[in-house]
Symmetry: C2
Subunit: 396 residues, 2 copies
């Protein structure tokens, strides 16, 4: 049996599946963590004109070049706030107000003193001092949001500043998770094991913000029952994930259940540890990811197979750091034929980050994720990394 | 006028204010990004007993020490699945099933072959091979969630695995944001400037997940009107934030409005740039943070004053990286008397991250945040940092 390398499995999924996600229009308040379906460019200049950046007096900078507290320069105070001034005049101006014609700078309130119908300027200013220049924030046509950008607060604020009130985004991607295993039950239930895997991966996908994740409960080890839940999920979801039932043993029923309803297994086993039984299937052109029932193995499957597939497919641009570099605190070993995903704990050590491998093989050791800030990938057939080496860590 | 250093302002706020946040019980599905109000320890061992980690045959490891494909060792097959076996016997076992007494290891299905009432073992196993040992994931009494931990998917999964169905968390912290400025309006409105600041900080606080953030609209520059909105917000909110109206100019009304309703200004001006007019006030023992109306300055106020106050006050433990180290790509200068917050763009360069300073002074340049992955803090009165230096970057 050939185990398919992880990146090959991602690329295969990308070229094999379409995700047809419609768009919807959303208002600014609903945009956080959603994905714009097309590029948005600035329809206007911001600021539209030169504006005062402070409260003070607009004037022409040439008229106060020698001004200082020892040499205050008197200007004619135009309390009538005319649209145009000449040099030698000053106009009271508030933050955000457009500069009158003829003015090219603003002196701050505390650097001036009113005296009857004059104002004494006690500080020189250069051209455009204390002025927000037209277009300095956005020029007309600037790209504000690229298609696929995961929307953060500054994007919403920028759209608002530009006067845009709604945006076309992809509707939420629908992901259905089917947990299997007669030994598994919800907490408080009858099983030997209380479910953790399906909540772990459902929560992780939900955290991304642009997916509607639905759990289809925990299904007993019965090919027919699993098959009927897969069919039900197919009706509603864009992507189906099963957990459990992928190994070669007597209970390995997700594969058979998928085939029973007319689905196909396209990849059977991926060269990764944990998660080697991970498989990729298809049901009437929708992707079905068959993950391990073990929490850590299923998590690796979601983080390094399912999520990269989704992100690449939707063209997602995520500004958050997804990986960092860190100094490895102890030696780790690679394995023949499989890519290893080593949980690491991250912490600052001096002027850098250290990555401390959590040396547990068990793909069922859920508690090992509690401290794991990221994963170190060791390529197939590589010897590993030495203590002290700088390695790339994929953040969770 | 003395500007208070940023860290001093945070510490002052911490010692001056109480946040009394009640707790509520939530089910597992609602826990993501919430904050447990007390430590949670494991009530049980997980697994409760030694269990098989694979599908195969439970046996005693001593009986198969010389087994190999060339030297298959026959064991008596106990299809009746007894609770106890002796060495020389093997019991079919499925993933997750408890090991029968007398068995101390499991041989995988593919390393054995059934033959009538015997099973041929073709691979030796060591004690506990393919066994999940009792308590290997959680021992009774292990800390699963410390008080204050920002709940991530693996916490939810762990609680579920332990059979816990609900948890006491802090109810969401209520934060009210009052934007001021007659020149500002909602997008599409009449103002010179469309609001960005209040959406920026509201979105950033909302992203944290454990706050209910309410915007009280944009209030005109009228002391009385601002005062009445402050009073209204005081009724409902734990924390009040105002934006705009903090400088020394004619429109600087938030300070006066707060005093008008019986509030006090405790800190007037913070030694930070951008954001020097940032102030801290109190209204009937609730904190009021008076931030700049400029988006970048207000953001720095939220990220480095308001959020640290909230996080410290609730004792929040956030596993996500909040800062990293990066190589500075160009020289930056400090300033006399103020701590500088320099926006930087982060990108990988070789085997490290590089931080590229975004060299804009304007505290109103919202677009500068679109590429800023973090901030570099330059201490007061420091000269700055050289190109090539490794610096600490606070992530946004």
């Amino acid at each position: 049996m050939r185990y398919v390398p992880v990146d090959e499995a991602v690329n295969f999924s990308l070229s094999n599946f379409k995700l047809s996600v419609e768009t919807e229009k959303l208002e600014l308040e609903q945009l956080l963590k959603r994905i714009p379906a097309k590029e948005i460019r600035s329809p206007v200049r911001v600021p539209p004109t030169n504006r005062s950046a402070v409260d003070g007096f607009a004037l022409c900078s040439d008229s106060v070049t020698s001004a200082s507290s020892n040499n205050p320069i008197p200007l004619v105070l135009r309390e009538d706030k005319p649209g145009k001034i000449s040099c030698g005049e000053a106009v009271p101006i508030s933050t955000g107000d457009p500069l009158p014609d003829g003015a090219d700078a603003v002196v701050m309130l505390e650097d001036a003193e009113k005296e009857g119908n004059r104002v004494l300027i006690m500080k020189s200013v250069a051209k455009f001092d204390n002025v927000s220049r037209a277009g300095e924030d956005f020029e007309q046509g600037d790209i504000v949001l690229s298609r696929g950008t995961l929307i953060r607060p500054w994007h919403v604020a920028s759209l608002s500043a530009l006067g845009l009130e709604e945006v076309d985004v992809f509707r939420k991607l629908k992901v259905g998770i089917i947990a299997t295993g007669s030994e598994v039950s919800e907490p408080g239930g009858e099983g030997f094991v209380f479910d953790s895997t399906s909540k772990l991966i459902a929560g992780y996908l939900a955290e991304q913000g642009y997916m509607d994740v639905k759990r289809y409960g925990i299904v007993e080890d019965d090919e027919e029952v699993i098959a009927s839940v897969i069919e039900k999920a197919w009706e509603k979801e864009d992507i189906i994930i099963t957990t459990g039932g992928t190994g070669p043993g007597s209970r390995d029923l997700c594969v058979k259940a998928l085939q029973r309803v007319g689905g196909k297994i396209l990849i059977r086993g991926i060269a990764m540890r944990p998660g080697r039984p991970t498989s990729v299937g298809e049901l009437k052109s929708k992707p079905v990811f068959l993950l391990s029932g073990y929490p850590v193995a299923a998590f690796v499957g979601v983080r390094f197979l399912v999520l990269p597939f989704i992100e690449e497919k939707l063209g997602i641009i995520d500004q958050r750091l997804r990986f960092i570099f860190a100094k490895l605190t102890s030696r780790v070993f690679g394995e023949v034929g499989v890519e290893s995903f080593i949980r690491v704990k991250l912490s600052p050590c001096g002027n850098e980050l250290c990555a401390d491998p959590i040396m547990l093989r068990g793909s069922g050791i859920l508690s090992s994720l509690l401290n794991a800030g990221g994963f170190l990938r060791i390529p197939r057939n590589a010897e590993g990394y030495e203590a002290g080496e700088i390695v790339r860590i994929e953040l969770v």
